[in-house]
């Protein structure tokens, strides 16, 4: 499946018997270009290729009866070792749980909050939604409309900046509704906006979330890396959701984030509808990234 993706590079290699170091380097140049075109961060590409090259010029390939196949296997293994061997479930668990969704403006947090609520509901949980976006016009309305669609209660947030009070009230309301998982939607923000990062830290202190999910647009470019690091530094990240993967972006940001944060990518958003959330499968994304 993966080798269908890497098409011409592997196809050409198979034409060779033994693979010289030069042939391997030529293949790596092509793979490098593929990964950069997939929006993988250039420094992550550099490091990743170095580890592939180290294995590729060694005995593994050199002494193999099928060097091209061995090379392809190494590329795949090295990709999977970064992306993850299997899907990691967002623990639906059984105890009371609070999940905070964070990320850049427009990445899909509000939509993902509703999708996640529906997913957890299907797993037998009782979600409660808390919109905390004091700035975006009709932000609360957006989450309320979505909540109504999936029959999940939504806290009537009025835009107040008294976050400690808002969070306490919201958690009380959630308890009153018999909810066992609280999903908190936050406003979009840049990781370099110190004022808004402080706001996020204040919200985080007030709700003490068990999970902080970075919601990242699947089409995000090279900044994905610094964005992820910025949010990690500010409040810590426990997992990632990659959105808008129903388009033709290759999603290389996933590789950059996995290589750097080493946190699980739980889900992919694959559409605007509330049911369009998929568990993240590393091998599927590997093929997609390789192009």
């Amino acid at each position: 499946k993966l080798t269908e993706g890497f098409g011409s590079v592997f196809g050409r290699l198979r034409g060779y018997g033994k693979l010289s170091e030069r042939t391997i380097d030529e293949a790596l140049v092509e793979i490098r270009r593929n990964l950069l075109e997939a929006d993988v961060h250039y420094s992550v590409v550099k490091d990743w290729l170095a580890s592939v090259r180290e294995r590729a010029i060694g005995k593994e390939v050199g002494e193999s009866f099928t060097p091209a196949e061995q090379f392809i296997k190494i590329v795949y293994e090295e990709l999977i070792s970064v992306l993850g061997k299997e899907p990691v479930e967002l623990e639906p668990g059984s105890g009371r749980k609070t999940i905070l969704l964070v990320g850049l403006q427009g990445s899909g947090k509000t939509t993902t909050t509703a999708k996640l609520a529906r997913y957890l509901q299907k797993k037998g949980r009782h979600p409660y939604l808390v919109p905390i976006d004091p700035r975006r016009p009709a932000a609360t309305e957006q989450l309320q409309v979505l909540g109504k669609k999936i029959n999940v209660p939504v806290f009537p947030y009025d835009g107040s900046l008294k976050f400690k009070k808002v969070c306490r009230q919201a958690l009380e309301e959630a308890e009153g509704e018999g909810a066992d998982v609280v999903l908190v939607d936050s406003a979009g923000r840049m990781e370099i906006d110190s004022h808004l990062i402080e706001e996020l830290q204040e919200i985080c202190r007030a709700i003490q979330p068990q999970e902080v999910l970075l919601v990242l647009d699947g089409m995000t470019g090279q900044v994905a890396l610094s964005v992820a690091k910025g949010f990690r530094e500010a409040i810590g990240i426990t997992g990632i959701v990659l959105t808008k993967m129903d388009g033709d972006a290759r999603g290389g940001a996933a590789l950059s984030l996995r290589a750097t944060l080493e946190k699980p990518i739980y889900f992919m958003g694959v559409g605007e509808k509330v049911e369009e959330l998929e568990v993240f499968y590393p091998d599927r994304l590997a093929s997609r990234i390789l192009g």
Binding site: L104, S107, K149, M190, T220, D248, E272
Partner: protein, 271 residues
């Protein structure tokens, strides 16, 4: 030439990485570098590069020309790029020039979309034509232009729902908005502006390609350049498309919109 070995010394390699780091992409990066090496360079490579990019982008600078009344601009783009917010900023800009503006809330699909635009309209104290959820966006555009004609408004700004360029039926829906707008006013929409998110990578070029093919995009706006992103994918866009870039979004408030300047863009690119 090798992927892990150094190129022609670290200067070339560091310039290459500087381009990759801002989403220029590997293909256009190599095109730019080989173009520079062909021009027998005297002087620092980075300076020659800056100059080459600046002159490419200079061609995309243009002032908006309001050429009919009402002047109609349709805003399109993929999900979450900043269309609705940009419309509010552009409306504010026209108002400051003394022009009357009317908004068309033709995103009848997304939760809270009409409420979002209506809130901006109320803040700007301007009319906003809206419809029921699920109403035909083209009919809202039509009604808005008719209303603007009747009221003698100067400008109509049409908001549309975000959509991926890979969804053919949704691209067709935009074509319909254009066709039906022309029924209300033959030259409308005078402009179709594609809003691009400055934090996105190489997919930006494909967005321009597909939207341009479907709608003959007449202008670009690049948003979210107030963050760590530099919008370098615009350099790749400029290699294949000569669509003017009218504005740059640099924040979430009404004032956070500046005319595109190739000079300023290049200066911030390699900061």
């Amino acid at each position: 030439k090798g992927v892990v070995s150094k190129g022609k010394g670290t200067t070339l390699e560091s310039v290459r990485e500087a381009l990759l780091a801002v989403d220029v992409g590997p293909q256009v990066t190599e095109q730019l570098l080989s173009r520079l090496q062909e021009q027998n360079h005297r002087g620092p490579l980075l300076e020659k590069l800056r100059e080459a990019i600046r002159s490419d982008l200079k061609k995309l600078e243009r002032a908006v020309s309001v050429r009919e009344k009402p002047f109609v601009i349709l805003f399109v783009g993929v999900n979450g790029v900043g269309k609705t917010t940009t419309i509010a900023k552009v409306a504010h800009g026209f108002q400051k020039e003394g022009r009357s503006v009317l908004l068309a809330a033709a995103d009848t699909f997304r939760a809270g979309a009409t409420g979002q635009l209506k809130t901006w309209a109320d803040r700007l104290q301007i009319p906003c034509v809206m419809g029921q959820e699920g109403a035909d966006p083209a009919s809202i555009a039509f009604q808005a232009i008719e209303s603007a004609k009747a009221k003698g408004m100067d400008v109509v700004l049409i908001d549309s729902a975000g959509r991926l360029h890979t969804e053919a039926p949704l691209m067709d829906q935009l074509k319909k908005i254009q066709r039906v707008s022309a029924k209300a006013l033959p030259q409308a929409p005078h402009e179709t502006w594609l809003v691009l998110d400055g934090t996105l990578g190489i997919n930006t070029v494909e967005q321009v390609r597909q939207f341009q093919k479907a709608l003959s995009v007449s202008g670009l706006v690049i948003t979210k350049l107030d963050g760590s992103a530099k919008g370098g994918s615009l350099i790749a866009v400029a290699q294949s498309f000569q669509i003017p870039v009218y504005f740059v979004g640099i924040g979430e408030t009404l004032e956070a919109l500046i005319p595109f300047s190739s000079e300023e863009f290049v200066r911030s690119l390699f900061l």
